[in-house]
């Protein structure tokens, strides 16, 4: 039989679907960077990568610690017995010292205001794996999770691809600085009900990606009330907890539930990782922390699919228990982030570009609405194309974060050195100078027009092609009609 032609039929639906999202235009920016990466001396005209939220500001501190503590890396010198125990260790409970270290660090990132139980710490393959694992535990295929937008684009892949869960955006507007309102939550919930989608919970990142803001106490409390009333879950991805470099200080969901009464703690779950706070994405340390015993139990067994390497656990157990080091690290890291943030936003302000006031994260949410020819997503896309090809910066357009207003861009600033930041600012300055003539009147009611004019350049082609019924008010659904 003719094999080649029947080839792709041999694969599963998951393997052949577009749910990985990598065919979307959003990745054109990455491709542009890959083809022409910036280098200060070898390729000074290349594309500067500002679309990757990586923290490289405090890498030297980590390296220094590793050099000073060589035994931590592979536990040699501690004798054969200790070595054997580590290399053989594949218990899905995780090394107790590792869990203790993580619990201590998590508490530290929250200013010591709350403590974490090491027995509730479950490993996963990065925060990516932790988020997916929670979906597997909390929802069945077809169930929905509300997610305030704008949100991290990879949620579409991580939360939906293999789990079959649907994401239902909760619209946040720039008029109130993209805060999550009760009304928006209720509206999204109602829409889901009408579309016959069973809502299992709310998932959000706090501090927010891409906004870089932390949720205030009122919002957190009303969120908890909302989910508690409906007895649905709340998943807080607190991966940027220790990147809070300015006021107001970070309030974790773990603190809120201590303050409120009659909350069903079985509904509360936290996702954490060391990829952003410590700048160690390669170590694939994902943590699921749940207040629900059944979820901990189930998650722990599922962690077999994404256990942290025992070698890495051993290293981190050592590093995170070194209180002196972690104190110094958290402080220094935040100072460097604050400085970098200041430098970047100041530079942008001088050119008349505002960013959303933010106090956390490795990026800022840049307002380029005044540079759009029209307040449409098409305009945003063409502006973005210009930024990639002419200004040569890979920034991320707001539409890829499912922002309901065009003209916002996420720019990462922590994955480069000071010099490169200056180069980037210089390029933006030149660009802005050239575009000064473009005057755009921002209509107040433009967000409605947007939904209708949002073209087929959706980043999430899967949503359009998915047979599942989407929330009828989702801009993505509007786009296809």
């Amino acid at each position: 039989m003719e094999f080649e032609s029947g080839n792709s039929q041999l694969l599963s639906k998951i393997a052949t679907s577009d749910q990985h999202g990598e065919n979307s235009p959003y990745f054109d920016g990455w491709k542009a960077y890959d083809n022409d990466p910036f280098h200060p001396t070898q390729n000074p005209r290349g594309v500067i990568q500002m679309g990757l939220a990586e923290n490289q500001l405090s890498l030297d501190l980590i390296e220094e610690w590793i050099k000073k503590n060589p035994r931590a890396s592979i536990c040699n010198g501690e004798g054969l017995h200790a070595f054997k125990n580590i290399v053989l260790f594949q218990d899905y409970h995780g090394l107790p010292q590792f869990r203790n270290g993580v619990a201590k660090f998590m508490a530290k990132a929250r200013g010591g205001r709350v403590s974490f139980d090491p027995d509730r710490i479950v490993m996963a393959g990065g925060a990516t794996g932790a988020n997916e694992m929670l979906m597997f535990c909390l929802a069945d295929p077809g169930d929905g999770f509300l997610v305030p937008s704008p949100y991290y684009p990879a949620f579409n892949r991580d939360l939906r691809w293999r789990t079959g869960v649907q994401l239902l955006p909760v619209m946040c507007q720039s008029s109130n600085n993209f805060q999550i309102t009760k009304q928006a939550l209720e509206e999204a919930y109602q829409n889901a009900q009408k579309a016959n989608i069973k809502v299992k919970g709310v998932i959000l990142a706090n501090p927010s990606n891409p906004l870089g803001t932390t949720l205030d106490r009122t919002t957190l409390r009303s969120l908890v009330t909302f989910i508690n009333d409906k007895q649905i879950h709340l998943v807080c991805d607190e991966i940027y907890a220790a990147t809070v470099f300015g006021g107001p200080s970070f309030i974790s969901i773990s603190e809120i539930i201590e303050e409120m009464e009659s909350i069903n703690r079985d509904l509360i779950h936290i996702v954490y990782s060391l990829s952003k706070d410590m700048g160690l994405p390669g170590l694939r340390v994902g943590i699921m922390y749940s207040y629900n015993n059944t979820v901990v139990n189930c998650g722990r067994k599922m962690s077999s699919f994404g256990l942290v390497s025992s070698q890495t656990q051993h290293l981190l157990a050592s590093m995170l228990s070194d209180q002196e080091f972690t104190d110094k690290f958290v402080l220094e890291n935040c100072t460097r982030l604050a400085n970098r943030h200041e430098m970047f936003t100041q530079g942008l302000e001088e050119m008349g570009i505002r960013c959303l006031k933010s106090n956390a994260g490795l990026f800022c949410w840049m307002d380029l609405r005044h540079l759009l020819k029209e307040p449409t997503f098409e305009s945003e896309m063409s502006l973005w194309r210009v930024i990639i090809s002419d200004v040569k910066l890979n920034v991320s357009p707001g539409s890829s974060f499912h922002c309901c207003e065009p003209g916002w861009f996420r720019v990462c600033f922590a994955n480069m050195d000071d010099e490169t930041v200056k180069v980037a600012l210089g390029r933006i300055r030149m660009f802005v100078g050239q575009r000064k003539d473009v005057e755009v009147q921002v209509k107040k009611s433009w967000h409605r027009n947007l939904r209708l004019s949002f073209s087929s350049l959706i980043y999430d082609e899967t949503m359009a092609s998915s047979p599942r019924i989407m929330s009828p008010h989702s801009p993505l659904v509007r786009a296809t009609t």
Partner: protein, 506 residues
């Protein structure tokens, strides 16, 4: 009708008082039963939070009607999957592992603890690894540089499916391990955090929920978790028998396939383990060719789990599926190999697994899925060094094989002295032991009774055949590479003790 006749009989005096009283009683009980089942569930008010008053301005939705009735603290509803997975382990395979964790044997600290013979771990050659590490991994180089910590900086984005150097090192290692008869291509290597996710990812790629894989039984108990839990793919056992030395028969494969088809299952592939677990057989060249033919005729995949490829010690030659595919040009697209460093290199903790496929589409999809299960970059850095030291690897593989052979011989001899035989195995870290004459009754219950005695009286953890879906009762998998030579007599004594307690009292 049936009720009326006896009642008539009662009325007319036939059947007597007994029926006359039995039937009304029965009816009475059925009535109670019916009422109990259909009693309306207790109504429970949803929990009120102190800030509930603030929500009064919001329109109450009809969603409240959709809420399941719950107590005031509520039982949050989880996925169907979670509820079943969270249940306590009921397979003896997992129960045994848990028991050892709680009460592990230690020669000095806990001599009455449970000896682990239920986990196929190789502790025989760790000293070699440790020596290499202390001699070669000088502290100053480790964990330094952005690549080690997984940052990309100015360089390229970190690939989730493994660093290129590591893929090259792994391909070379696999070539060495599988006897240098075939050369593995680094571009076909996809790295995952262990063979467990490698198998799951491959299953997600090759089958849809509800589809099935055929798997020769007895098989590794972990397959039930790795393949079925989250993918929803079914496993259909193809039973192998002691009369065949538990080798796979193509006839049995055909029969099982046809039966499955009749029952409406869509079979997407065959999962073989070679060397096999728990039996320790090697699949010979002819069988492998037959398998490929079988798969081709039915347009299904072959997944070959070759994780024990380097742990062979018999006189038989190990033949990898890749060797078969190499010689045939067509049909490569349906062959996929699972590998990892947990068995052959004795480093299960480091979490390194491999998907090796000849199918470009499978590779593309798998690579994307590795984002959920990637190998730690620091671990990769260490292992690149180790795997690239060809001289060390060759020495290690040779010594390791010898040690496994020695231990196997000693263990099998020890069992023979007790009057217990095993199948002749050529690979793996265990032996497949026939204790069928020692169980009573001759069925799964008898087998589990013996298992229980071995665990609780003998204080050794072994894996009963039923946990491996073996169709013949009385077979057990004993892993011997967790022991040192001194401990073998201890184990034999304990087996004796447990078996003696089984003897029916005269």
């Amino acid at each position: 009708m049936r009720l009326i006749v006896p009642l008539q009989g009662v009325v007319q005096g036939r059947g007597g008082l007994i029926l006359g009283s039995l039937i009304p009683c029965a009816l009475f009980y059925f009535l109670q039963f019916y009422l109990k089942r259909h009693r309306s569930p207790p109504s429970n008010p949803p929990s009120q939070s102190p800030s509930a008053a603030n929500l009064s301005e919001l329109p109450r939705s009809s969603s409240r009607a959709n809420l399941l009735a719950r107590g005031s603290t509520g039982r949050a509803s989880l996925s169907a999957r979670a509820t079943s997975i969270a249940k306590p382990n009921d397979s003896p395979y997992y129960i045994g592992l848990d028991r050892v964790r709680e009460d592990p044997y230690d020669e000095i600290d806990n001599p009455d603890g449970i000896i682990q013979l239920g986990l196929s771990e190789n502790r025989l050659s760790l000293d070699l690894i440790e020596d290499w590490v202390s001699q070669n991994l000088t502290d100053s180089k480790l964990g330094v540089g952005s690549q080690a910590l997984g940052l990309s900086g100015i360089a390229t984005y970190q690939p989730m499916d493994g660093l290129m150097e590591f893929k090259v090192a792994m391909a070379d290692f696999m070539t060495e391990v599988m006897g240098r008869t075939v050369s593995f291509d680094p571009s076909r290597v996809v790295l995952t955090s262990g063979a467990t996710p490698a198998l799951e990812i491959l299953s997600f790629c090759l089958a849809d929920q509800g589809n099935a894989f055929l798997v020769p039984a007895p098989y590794y108990p972990g397959f039930d978790r790795d393949i079925r839990w989250r993918t929803g793919v079914e496993l259909i056992p193809v039973h192998c028998r002691s009369c065949d030395n538990f080798t796979l028969s193509i006839t049995a494969l055909e029969q099982t396939f046809n039966q499955a088809k009749k029952r409406g299952h869509k079979v997407r592939g065959i999962l073989i383990s070679n060397p096999s677990n728990p039996v320790g057989n090697l699949l010979n060249r002819d069988t492998l060719y037959d398998l490929l033919d079988f798969a081709r005729e039915r347009n299904i995949h072959i997944i070959s789990d070759e994780i024990f490829a380097g742990s062979t010690y018999g006189n038989e030659e190990f033949v990898s599926m890749s060797e078969i595919v190499d010689s045939e040009d067509a049909d490569k697209d349906r062959v996929h190999i699972i590998y990892g460093l947990s068995k052959d290199l004795s480093i299960p903790g480091f979490r390194v697994g491999v998907i090796y496929s000849y199918n470009e589409n499978v590779l593309a999809a798998s690579r994307k899925l590795t984002r959920f299960s990637s190998v730690s970059s620091l671990t990769q850095q260490i292992l690149v060094s180790m795997l690239s030291d060809k001289r060390f690897i060759q020495e290690y593989m040779k010594t390791n094989r010898q040690r496994i052979r020695t231990m196997c011989d000693l263990f099998v001899a020890g069992l023979r002295e007790l009057g217990v035989e095993c199948t002749k195995s050529s690979g793996g870290l265990y032996c497949w032991v026939d204790m069928s004459r020692l169980i009573s009754p001759y069925n799964e219950k008898g087998e589990l009774d013996l298992w229980d005695k071995l665990l609780n009286i003998g204080k050794i953890n072994v894996t009963p055949g039923s946990a491996c879906h073996c169709i013949e009762p009385g077979w057990f998998r004993f892993c011997f590479t967790t022991l040192n030579e001194k401990e073998i007599p201890v184990v034999m004594e304990r087996i004796q003790k447990a078996v003696e307690s089984c003897k029916p009292s005269v």
